[in-house]
């Protein structure tokens, strides 16, 4: 087995909600496990609706928050016990690209400034000439040229160009992993392809991605492995194309069938009802999180959270009692 680049082991993050009468612990992420191998580089998609815990996961990996329990392990080192040198290296090798391609820029500085800052902070270049070459190389990787963009201000560029510059900036530091939190959701459809293409090119260059999105169609186009989260827990995981083609978890099935089909001849079938209100998950509510909405719920679903059951031979797993051997057999007998 190849070496592991980043491992998340049993990560749980809870937030305390203080009400007027009581204190509740809200679960944002529960018992999450993930291992990204050193090679080959891959695009790992974390998908889910808002509040599913996908941004909490990004924040854990980027070190913006600490897990309540569990570990983030980078190349064998638990990051909670890392030395300053190890942390510095981690911050260099794990880069981030965020959702809003405008908010991350200081509108008063030209694009050049973004690159100058990286070179200075990480002491990347020995002299100005080397620095210029590095910038040009990084821009070329994302399909841009220095002369076209460096002298411009952020507002003079399209959202797609701004986002590609962010990938170029991340690339300059020669990271092993890029956490991309919804990098295309604020970019127009006609320009999205260019950004996804950059991700694929960087993957070919040996950089892995933690691609956080709610858009399953882009995950289908470029993703390798996928984790679909529901209320902080993994509902289903496997190869992105397989999970999307053949979802097994009832939530993932509902999710996939709700993606509007860009074909006017294929209309949505039936209607969906949402529960009148979504209860926030607290630490002490047992059972499957999807139970209140599930069309196939069973009594067992309320007893304990379902583990991930294998549903295919190629590693696809779904957290649903429908795939429990005993439950299956029990059903057959009944």
């Amino acid at each position: 087995m190849s070496e592991i680049l980043l491992e998340i082991r049993n990560a749980t993050k809870t937030y305390v909600q203080r009400g007027s009468k009581s204190k509740r612990q809200i679960v944002a992420l529960e018992n999450f496990n993930l291992a990204i191998p050193c090679a080959p580089a891959s695009i790992i998609t974390i998908a889910g609706e808002s509040g599913s815990g996908k941004s909490t996961l990004a924040n854990l990996v980027l070190g913006f928050t600490k897990p309540t329990s569990g570990q983030v392990i980078y190349q064998g080192q638990d990051m909670a016990a890392a030395t300053p040198q190890q942390q510095q290296r981690y911050r260099r090798e794990v880069q981030a690209v965020f959702q809003d391609p405008f908010g991350v820029y200081n509108p008063f500085y030209r694009v050049q400034h973004v690159f100058d800052m990286v070179i200075r902070n990480f002491r990347l270049a020995e002299n100005a000439r080397q620095g210029r070459d590095m910038i040009e190389e990084a821009l070329n990787i994302v399909g841009l040229h220095g002369e076209d963009v460096l002298r411009k201000y952020p507002h003079q560029l399209s959202g797609g160009q701004r986002q590609r510059i962010m990938f170029a900036r991340a690339y300059m530091v020669k990271p092993r992993l890029i956490v991309a939190d919804e990098p295309v959701s604020m970019v127009d459809a006609s320009l999205r392809a260019a950004i996804l293409d950059v991700m694929m090119r960087l993957r070919a260059d040996g950089i892995s991605f933690l691609y956080i999105t709610h858009d399953l169609s882009t995950a289908f186009q470029v993703g390798d492995q996928i984790f679909v989260l529901y209320h902080g827990a993994v509902a289903e995981t496997g190869q992105a194309t397989e999970v999307i083609r053949k979802p097994h978890h009832p939530y993932v099935q509902l999710l996939i069938s709700s993606i509007p089909d860009p074909d006017p001849r294929v209309k949505w079938q039936g209607t969906v009802d949402l529960p009148p209100e979504e209860e926030m998950r607290t630490i002490d509510s047992p059972g499957c999180r999807f139970h209140p909405r599930c069309p196939q719920r069973m009594p067992i679903c309320l007893q304990a959270a379902p583990p991930l059951y294998p549903v295919s031979t190629d590693g696809q797993r779904a957290a649903c009692y429908l795939y429990d051997q005993d439950v299956k057999r029990g059903k057959l007998q009944a």
Binding site: E49, S50, G143, S158, G159, G160, Q161, D188, A189, S190, L191, R192, A193, A194, L196, D197, M200, H214, D215, L216, S217, T218, F220, Q221, T241, I244, R245, L254, L255, I256, S258, I259, P260, D261, P262, D263, P264, R265, K267, W268, T271, V272, D273, L274, P276, E277, E278
Partner: protein, 340 residues
Amino acid sequence: MTRESRTPVLEVRDLRIYYETPKGDVHAVDGISFVLYQGETLGLVGESGCGKSTAAMGILQLITPPGRIVSGQVLMDGVDLLKLDERTLRQMRWSRLALVPQGAMNSLNPTMRVHQQIEDVIRQHQTKTKTFDRSQLKPRILELLSWVGLPERVYDMYPHELSGGMKQRVCIAMAVALHPGVIIADESTSALDVVVQRVVAQTLLRVKADLGVSMIMIGHDMGLMAQMVDRIVVMYAGRIVEIATVEHAFRNPAHPYSQVLIDSVPTISERKPLKITEGITHDPRNPPHGCIFQLRCPFVMERCRREAPQRREIRPGQEVACHLYEQQPDGSYRDVRDTA
């Protein structure tokens, strides 16, 4: 519905809306014309900044400085809305022409309960023919809430107690409160999760069918457009480049820009190579001579730089503004690329 029997409910003629900047006017909406027919859903699509939301605000006359309506007409039942005084307009809004705003999350007043906000709309905008007295208000609001699939409890709730999808449905309830003839939905589902988006979209369609209203849906999600609309208006840089039935728009889009839009729709049925289009756009203060799309068009010809193409109906249900389509002596159109 046959083409001849369609009755126009709203007609926009040569509408121009400019934004003033220190370096000259930005032509946000630059002479657009289209018709909305009785009972139809018209999709208005294009990338951010193409002027689709500005066009909607112009129709409702909610343009604020530095924006201004330069010229044009917005006709509803033969009356030009742009010529009405503020008082008459106020009565038109919501009672005849309603808006489901972009980002409904932030368009509700956080300090007012849901029922107070809906009451407010009804009281402020009711006309002589559509009046509700106090005793009728509560049952009417509860009826509206059940229409959009919300429980009665919502009546007394504050916006922060509702989820995004619920707030969006409150906005739909407000929009239909006075039985308007036309609803304009501006990106009304774009910030929602897919399952919730589907619920809201289906609510909109159902309410629209129940009331027999016409709707203009603004958005950039082509998948959603395919599911919801009858015809599509494609805008690029302030102008309309194509108007087509949803079937034509998806199966044989005519304008090169519409083709880019359709090609870049991600699907989950097959993995296909990414189609990359470079987004060089012109300075919006200084649109180029001739065709508006010439800088990005893969098929640009010499003629495109000289003269702006007029919009012509190249086949029933499909109008396009592009020099690639040339009229033949028999009146039909052919694609000039076919002979090359």
